[in-house]
Amino acid sequence: MEKFEKLTGIAAPLPLVNIDTDMIIPKQFLKTIKRSGLGVNLFDEMRYDRQGNEIPDFVLNKPQYREAEILVAGDNFGCGSSREHAPWALKDFGIKCVISTSFADIFYNNCFKNGILPIVLPQEAVDALMKDAEKGSNARMIVDLEAQTVTSSDGDVFTFEVDSFKKHCLLNGLDDIGLTMEKAGAIDTFESQASQARPWV
């Protein structure tokens, strides 16, 4: 997995609450058996009309946000289905960080598995960063995972919390499966004890 250390990039404002995974990547794009290539269909139904033409008003279609690497969004981002196609599509488009007041549980976990940093900040902080993002491409934010800070284009610094294990994996680009495989001995022991205690499983 790709590492995430520090990012200086354009932030796109998306001030809607409850952005669900059906909005992020509609189901017709879930029929792929690959992880790549979903970026063109990110936010498909908000981004294109029925004929496939871009809807100019949608934030990621505006010239100043086409290169956005950060999303600043409303509350409860990523609610709905467990589809990892949502972070895959974000990643494929180029989004590496999403900032909101809260995230749905499964989506939040899925981000970390794909090198995307979801940042939870209080409402006032998200409001301030949303304003900053509205300034367009000249307003670059700095996200520093090691220091756990987001710095707005005006130099305002916001500190965020992140689980230490998840941070460690993201900073070092570590693959969970490899890490768990190192504990195979503990899994073997658990299995043999459990097969005594609960043989019907």
Binding site: K31, F165, D176
Partner: protein, 467 residues
């Protein structure tokens, strides 16, 4: 010993390893797999030269994309991309040696209906699936939740999941339900009260008299939508009804193992003085048959109410409500019971079980539909067969419903069963998101009885007027 919740007990019985920061490796007893969220995981295993660690605990069934029309085992009936995805699951099940119910097997159906039906889901287990509605299995007192594809791969390879423990939330539904009020109304009402993020960070245990009174089918409906309330999982403590449902199922324990299992299952309840981080109490008598008016499952109101005004809300919800009402083509102040319906969909892992079909058929008996189209999609081939045996299929067909084969169907419209632009549907599924049931389709979530009532009158209808 300090008092524990049901969640604490199941969690503690499955911790393989705990780090100093509280990150745990949790053992997974059952892993359910479907065709949409698994191909990339199997591909990952192949690329790394890994095997499935416990194929005997892994169960796969195609459900999301399969057509629900007769003759569907003919591959020509499926669009190319769906066919490739189902074929990939066929192949992966074979290559990795996992239990499999292919499209032409009568036991095929929606993964969350097949698991309990076949006795794979048992009390006290940890159950995961690359699907958010895995919460359904919590009805058995199993800790069950959805995971992403990377985690599917992790479970396939290691039979464990890296997890941090959630907080404990108790949702108590006291007293009795009034006539015409069902499990679906309970679960929607809870989301209406707590919001779609109200359960974020929690595992919910549903309890109270109204929950105890529900059948296993009803309990599955309640737990199914825990995810719509943001919770990682929903749980209901197992009791005699649970044991009775489980006993004799193909993969349930038998003989001495049954006795041993039962002895443990009977210890699976929250201790009286257990600690709860959040408690929500709702009176069963206060719950009415409800419908959703917007595009979030929290947009819930009793059928007797009117479409709200966006300005009634606070913060970001004002804009969201305005957008929803426009999308849904409604007017603030309009009576919900005046909303005309084009289509009725009865099915999904929320309401595709036999009890749901019975409830709908009860309303439909001897009546004809007034909507443009109506469809019943049983949750599994076995539910379908049972409904045919009980004569329910005939009631549906005589009323004018299409009687389909099992699958997810119009719940998420990945197969050809879709709403067209502007088409308005009373649906027993679980999500009313924009475009969920088809591009620009409009979804009102309701119970099976309310869906049947809408089919008969052609508009959203208070089912209490028909019983």
């Amino acid at each position: 010993m300090s008092p524990k919740t049901l969640y604490d007990k199941i969690w503690d019985a499955h911790v393989v390893h705990e780090d100093t920061d509280g990150t745990c490796l949790l053992y997974i007893d059952r892993h359910l797999v479907h065709e949409v969220t698994s191909p990339q995981a199997f591909e990952g295993l192949r690329m790394a030269g890994r095997k499935v660690r416990a194929p005997e605990k892994t169960i796969a069934v195609p459900d999301h994309n399969v057509p629900t029309t007769l003759g569907r085992e003919n591959p020509d009936q499926m669009p190319e991309d769906s066919r490739i995805q189902v074929a990939a699951l066929d192949q992966n099940a074979k290559d990795f040696g996992i239990h499999y119910y292919p499209v032409n097997d009568v036991r095929q159906g929606i993964v969350h209906i097949v698991g309990p039906e076949q006795g794979w889901t048992l009390p006290g287990m940890t159950v995961v699936c690359g699907d958010s509605h895995t919460a359904t299995h919590g009805a058995f007192g199993a800790l069950a939740h959805g995971i992403g594809t990377s985690e599917v791969e992790h479970v396939l390879a290691t039979q464990t999941l890296i997890q941090k423990k959630s907080k404990n939330m108790k949702v108590e539904i006291t007293g009795k339900l009034r006539p015409g009020v069902t499990a679906k109304d309970i679960t929607l009402s809870v989301i209406g009260a707590t919001g779609t993020a109200g359960g974020t960070g929690y595992v919910i245990e549903y309890c109270g008299e109204a929950i105890r009174d529900l059948s296993m089918e009803g309990r599955m409906t309640v737990c199914n939508m825990a995810i719509e309330g943001g919770a990682r999982a929903g749980l209901i403590a197992p009791d005699e009804k649970t044991f009775e449902y489980v006993q004799g199922r193909p993969h349930a324990p038998k003989g001495a193992q049954w006795e041993a299992a039962l002895a443990w299952w009977k210890t699976l309840y929250s201790d009286d003085d257990a600690h709860w981080d959040k408690v929500v109490t709702i009176k069963g008598e206060d719950i009415a048959p409800v419908v959703t008016w917007g595009t979030s499952p929290e947009d819930v109101l009793p059928i007797t109410a009117t479409v709200p005004t966006p300005e009634d809300f606070k913060g970001g919800k004002v804009d969201a409500a305005r957008r929803s009402i426009e999308y849904m083509g409604l007017t603030p102040g309009q009576k919900l019971s005046d909303i005309e319906i084009d289509t009725v969909f009865i099915g999904s892992c929320t309401n595709g079980r036999i009890e749901d079909l019975r409830a709908a058929a009860e309303i439909l008996k001897g009546k004809k539909i007034k909507v443009k189209r109506a469809m019943v999609v049983p949750g599994s081939g076995l539910v379908r067969a049972q409904a045919e045996e009980e004569g329910l299929a005939d009631i549906f067909k005589e009323a004018g419903f299409e009687w389909r084969m099992a699958g997810c169907s119009m719940c998420l419209a990945m197969n050809p069963d879709q709403l067209s632009e502007g088409e308005r549907c009373a649906s027993t599924s679980n999500r009313n998101f924009e475009g969920r049931q088809g591009y620009k389709g409009r979804t009102h979530l309701v119970s099976p009885a309310m869906a049947a009532a809408a089919a008969v009158t052609g508009k959203l209808t208070d089912v209490r007027e028909m019983i």
